[in-house]
Amino acid sequence: MTSAPVLEARGLTRRFTGVLALSGVDFRLFAGEVHAVMGQNGAGKSTLIKLLTGVYPADAGELRLGGVPVHPTSPAAAQRLGISTVYQEVNLCPNLSVAENIFAGRYPRKGAAGLWRIDWQRMHVQARALLARLNLEIDVTRLLASYPVAVQQMVAIARALSVEAKVLILDEPTSSLDEEEVNRLFGVLRQLRSDGMAILFVTHFFEQMYAISDRITVLRNGELVGEYLKADLPPAALITAMVGRELSAAVGRNDNPEIAAGAPLLEARGFGRRGQLQPLDLTLRRGEVVGVGGLLGSGRTELARLLFGLERCDSGSLFIEGQPVRFDNPVQAIRQGLALCPEERKHDGIVAELSVRENIVLALQARLGLWRYLSRARQQEIADRFVHALSIKTADIETPIALLSGGNQQKAVLARWLATEPRLLILDEPTRGIDVAAKQEVMNQILVLARSGLAVLFISSEMDEVVRVSDRIVVLRDRAKVGELPGNSSEQAVYHLIASGT
């Protein structure tokens, strides 16, 4: 293909307060190629991007651009070196015009005394020319915000071209695009590729990745698994590389799944939200554990948030015990007996400076309201009960929750929801960052709860857990439901469904 890589990294390492995010990763980016980076949560993809684009410095390893060692210390520096990035949220200024966004910081100037005066005329002409290279003809004087995300991305790419970038990095560019827009973007990328640009493409979407990439690098747990040519890595092999274990062909322990009888507790029909989740059907019964299997970005958390009322669905309907409901906010969902243990513990879960006790009773108190205040004694009793039941390791219940380890924080958040005695518990990655023994405890607790009549929706990237504990498995891929499998399916079966999409 080509001789030397345009961008080459060797032994890149980066540590964040004790966590090794990236460890000795090698990476090569060639001109005239689209190179995809794949990996699960915590694999190190975003860290790699941030190191390449100068957001963080590397703790070890070297970076070479065109054979020359470089050390970008800021996004601006990386830009000057010729590494341009288009982010998922299109980090441009929506209140400026298209032309301005392309040339911000490097305006064409005019005027003798004014090395200061911006030459708007020339800027507009040049902007139009750049966009023409991308087959886009728009009014460059209009505000960026007046164009859809797909066009805004093109503007971001045009900005990269204007700095004569050698490397173009696209971080999750297709998350908010529809099919037609994706095709248009890929057309542009193919053209840039044939012009000799080196393109780094990060995505969760399998199909798209296979459609556009030439080369694939797989990361896992901060380490390099391997660099492959697309033809050498079919989906099944890719999944194995990403997940990293010999996928168990063993049948799930739950080999006599209780097919719970009776009317469904929750029923969702055609339930979805544009841009986040394709309309799907879902049923949950009392005493049932329904697992949600899928890779990162497949829409699992979006499903949880939609069910709980954090986002509003714009299609389909929801029924609780046969009665139609509509959740516009969590308060309504909680009143119907739902509970959501969120994925982002630090952001959406713990209230850092409050004590363990206060965190545990928070949701219950919220449901009781202002006036029915749980007495201190009652709060302590509840907190102690759950600290004991879930084996939460804390000096005492008055310790600020921020001081607990991640796993114990997670248990406390779980305790918070269990304290509300819900009918339906949605668990989004409840075992993330928890040690093995604790994981086991949580899993057992889930089973106990289900057997006592609770309906559980269990989302986890640890497929072996999903398979082990679920009565049924809903499989998601690329923000859509691709099917359901019985609880005694094997991991292989689930991944097969994901890979094949049928």
């Binding site: 980090n91 441009l92 200024c93 301005e100 305006y107």
Partner: protein, 321 residues
């Protein structure tokens, strides 16, 4: 058929101009002596210092910040000028450049604190407000009258405009000059465009490699400079230095900027709009004075109501986008 569509970004500005024309029209209709050149010129003359401060404040608000110290810096400027000229016998030509540097330096200090330590602008400039006024009182508790000939002659100077006796003051001319400079700065220089970018999305501006830190400090420096210049004009107007000058002016300045169509969240707005914001505030005051039956504090209430209306419109505008 192509219908001419007004670019949505000009709508707030056009709204402000419409309000101004409406009130001017109402005034001319209700009071016969209202519709005269001098009355309109007086709007600018009496509010020249507000206009100058407004230009500086526009930039601060465009960048997503706020500056509550402007009134106090004006007072400090008057006090320092008065003390230097009357007590230390400096000439106007010596005192004026010094106070301008002082004002700019004050703004630069606040801007540096805000940018370097990620402090909230409103609390930093609030403390700055305290500090400036306190420094005023340190120099003198009572007011110091200015009798220096340079100041009095400038204060009395009138540039005749056309035959029927309409004239304009030095202050008003300065205001127009600063306004023109502000418009140029906002549209033709990298500094101005970076201010807009920061107000639109500071995170994006950083990722785009724009000089965010430097621009933030410069924005507050410019505001301080404008405050000092407005203070100089105020000194001509009042011919005294006093710690109680321009109390509450920062609120008038913010009101003028908001009514002028600049969004408080930053990134959207025009310096030109601030001129109309100032003129509207002036017209309200004039209308109330003309009416005679309404007490002058209705001004505060009407300004508050106008501010509310414009803020609500801004919220509606933002939520629709």
């Amino acid at each position: 058929m192509k219908t001419a569509r007004i670019d949505s970004r000009y709508v707030p500005l056009l709204g402000t101009i419409a309000v101004f024309l409406l009130t001017a029209g109402y005034g001319s209709f209700a009071y016969p002596s209202f519709f005269s050149a001098q009355v309109f010129l007086n709007l600018l003359i009496d509010n020249a210092f507000l206009c100058i401060v407004g230009v500086g404040m526009t930039f601060v608000i465009l960048s997503g910040g706020i500056d509550l110290s402007v009134g106090s810096v004006i007072a400090l400027t008057t006090m320092v000028s008065a003390a230097l000229v009357e007590q230390q016998h400096w000439s106007a030509a010596q005192a004026i450049p010094l106070v301008l540097v002082l004002g700019a330096g004050f703004g630069a200090l606040m801007g540096w604190l805000i940018q370097r330590f990620k402090l909230q602008p409103f609390i930093v400039t609030l403390a700055g407000m305290f500090l400036a006024r306190g420094l005023c009182y340190l120099i003198s508790i009572d007011s110091i009258s200015i009798t220096d000939s340079a100041y009095t002659s400038i204060a009395q100077a009138r540039l005749p405009l056309w035959s029927d006796g309409a004239s304009i003051t030095v202050g008003a001319l300065l205001a127009l000059a600063v306004l023109a400079f502000g418009i140029w700065l906002a549209h033709a220089t990298e500094f101005g465009r970076t201010v807009y970018a920061i107000g639109g999305s500071e995170a994006s501006a950083l990722l785009m490699g724009l000089p965010v830190a430097r621009t933030t400090v410069l924005v507050y420096t410019f505001s301080g400079l404008c405050s000092a210049l407005a203070g100089v004009v105020f000194t001509f107007y009042m011919l005294s230095g006093y710690g109680l000058h321009a109390v509450g002016l920062e609120l008038d300045a913010i009101a003028a900027v908001v009514i002028g169509g600049t969004l408080l969240s930053g990134g959207v707005g025009y310096v030109f709009g601030t001129l109309f914001g100032v003129l509207i505030l002036g017209i309200i005051q004039t209308l109330i004075a003309f009416d005679g039956s309404l007490s002058s504090w209705w001004t505060r209430i009407v300004i508050g109501a106008l501010l509310l209306v414009f803020c609500l419109l801004q919220r509606a505008f933002e939520s629709r986008r």
